[in-house]
Amino acid sequence: MDREAILLDYVKNELLRGRANNITAEDDLLGAGLIDSLGILQIVAFIDERFNIQVPDEDVVYENFNSVKALSDYLAQ
């Protein structure tokens, strides 16, 4: 799996635990209120664990986290 697929799998199956099975990488996770601030921190921890990338606090912003795609684009930088 590429990074985007791994992230989408994590968000769908771990974070949302079946609450929104048809979300895609492009879907707005925040405008729909699917993920709360705790969820964001869980994603940050997952990225650290899975990809060994430490996202600095100043990069944990809406622009980088509003969709799985935005997140994988950010991580690709």
């Binding site: 709360d36 601030s37 606090d57």
Partner: protein
């Protein structure tokens, strides 16, 4: 004479028409624009049949239109009912049915994303949506609302005892309940707050709380009393400390008001020290106990800012407050909830409703203009929530039973001790644990369920649940989570659900929630 919450906007529009009333994502509405557009909204609502005392829903993510909706609905003589834009649609439709909403202010995006119209709701008119054929309701676009802007609100003959808004909160029976506030109860709070915090038209207030959360009434109504600017934070920003701090700096916020959790997040992850926050003069917090360690760090980081702890269940707006003047030590107890606001009376009683001696614990009762009118459609619950007792020996008056246990300290300040019942706070949201248990038990494979709070070390609670399956049933966590997510708002869905073979029991055979809680707390992370 000011007796309606809407009059403050019209007065500010006369005094300072070009002053920004509302800001959102870099856009503004001046007081003149807010007054004229809310007049237009009110006229449209009247044309569509809204009458004094009706309930009109607001269902959308926050924006400039939120303010037009709030004031427009009240100017039409109706009560606004803010619907949690992120709650499950079944819950939204329940609220719509429960309080008989026939008119809804929304937008096309929210409507289509939520699937609300597929639910069992019966609406006459949707405002904020484009007209489409074969819809069983009248549709009025936002463009039409703006085109109806008018200098004068309709004359509806409202009085201060009329309902102004209904806020739905968690209910222990499994369904949310509507807390009714009047113009008087809202104004009693807003006027006190504007005066106590010295708000002026130069102030720029944050609006962090959602509209269905009563902290938002400070932002909008105390703000408009002073003709100040209210800066609405997009909901998505509230998940990101770095975004919140940046906005605080860019918008030169002077008065910040939120739950402690948001402030702790900003302090720990928002790089507050890297931004110019010199405009800030007050940090107000409410909704939960602020852990002393974090409050201390925040106060040390902002030595020139004043801090205040506001307390009050939604039923009483805010009823006590405490200005934190000295930086507390790390291991000090949480700061008190303070003394009653002006025009509020507090009474502490024991289990027999007798006043307790100073220093003794008891339930806090509140009397005054800030107290709600009652629970929508629940006369018995309303009756139970109030306690009638003689005043001065010859008057009988109503006190609201907060369900909160407090004690009076030697200096007259009140200290919060805990709840009488099973209501908890999570991230500032008020949740009845019973409501979550009802939702779990409604899943057909669940035999028994127990829900309990687990302190998160940030002064708030996470929610955990444990369930047992019916005999022979293959109960899976994911399916159960999906089931309750259709019934509860996201913050009330337990973070972990343990599926147990048997529950730990107390000697009387009840589920031992304390044992479950202790096990949970012992697990790191």
């Amino acid at each position: 004479m000011t007796f309606l919450l809407t009059q403050a906007v019209d007065k500010a529009a006369e005094r300072t028409p070009d002053k920004d009333a509302i800001r959102f994502s870099g856009q503004s509405l001046t007081y003149a624009e807010l007054a004229r557009n809310s007049n237009g909204m009110a006229r449209i609502l009247r044309e569509q049949g809204v009458r004094r005392g009706d309930r009109v829903g607001i269902f959308m993510n926050k924006g400039l239109e939120s303010a037009i909706a709030i004031y427009g609905i009240m100017k039409a003589g109706a009560a606004y009912v803010p619907l949690d834009p992120f709650a499950p649609v079944a819950r939204i439709s329940y609220v719509i049915r429960d309080c008989g909403i026939r008119h809804l202010i929304t937008n096309d995006l929210k409507l289509s994303m939520s699937g609300l119209l597929d639910e069992d709701v019966d609406l006459d008119c949707l405002i904020g949506v484009e007209a489409a054929e074969e819809r069983p309701y009248t549709a009025i676009s936002w463009d039409a609302v703006y085109a109806s802007a008018a200098d004068q609100p309709p004359d509806v003959g409202a009085v201060e005892q009329d309902l102004a808004y209904i806020l739905y909160t968690s209910g222990s029976t499994g369904m949310p309940k509507g807390i009714m506030h009047t113009h008087r109860s809202g104004l009693s709070f807003a006027q006190w707050a504007a005066e106590e915090y010295g708000l002026t038209s130069d102030d720029r207030l944050s609006n962090h709380a959602p509209l269905h959360f009563d902290l938002s009434t400070f932002d909008f109504f105390a703000g408009s009393q002073a003709g100040a600017t209210v800066v609405i934070l997009p909901e998505a920003f509230t998940k990101f400390p770095a975004n919140m701090v940046k906005l605080m700096a860019e918008e030169r916020i002077t008065v910040w008001y939120s739950v402690p959790f948001a402030l702790i997040q900003m302090l720990q992850r928002g790089k507050m020290e890297a931004h110019d926050l010199s405009a800030l003069r007050w940090i107000l917090f409410a909704g939960e106990v602020f852990p002393t360690k974090h409050l201390r760090n925040l106060m040390l980081a902002f030595p020139d800012v004043q801090f205040s702890n506001l307390y009050g269940p939604t039923e009483t707006n805010v009823c006590t407050y405490y200005h934190v003047t000295a930086v507390p030590d790390e291991d000090d107890e949480p700061v008190p909830i303070g003394k009653p606001c002006a025009n509020v009376e507090a009474l502490i009683v024991d289990g027999d409703d007798q006043p307790v001696a100073v220093g003794e614990a008891g339930e806090l009762l509140i009397r005054g203009g800030v107290v709600m009118r009652g629970y929508w459609g629940m006369p018995e619950k309303t009756e139970k929530g109030f306690y009638k007792r003689p005043v001065f020996g010859y008057l009988e008056d109503k006190f609201y039973r907060t369900g909160d246990l407090v004690q009076e300290l030697p200096d007259g300040n009140l200290k919060y001790l805990g709840r009488k019942d099973r209501q908890i706070k999570t991230r500032g949201y008020r949740v009845e644990l019973d409501e979550i248990e009802v939702a779990l038990l409604s899943y057909e494979l669940v035999e028994e369920a127990a829900v309990y709070p687990v302190p998160d070390g940030q002064g708030s609670n996470l929610i955990e649940a444990a369930v047992t399956a019916k005999e022979g049933a293959a109960l899976e966590e994911a399916a159960l989570v999906s089931h309750i997510s259709d019934r509860l708002p996201p913050y009330a869905v337990p973070g972990t659900i343990h599926i147990l073979d048997v529950f730990p029991r107390t000697s009387t055979g009840k589920i031992n929630r304390r044992a479950l809680q202790e096990q949970a707390t012992a697990v790191p992370g």
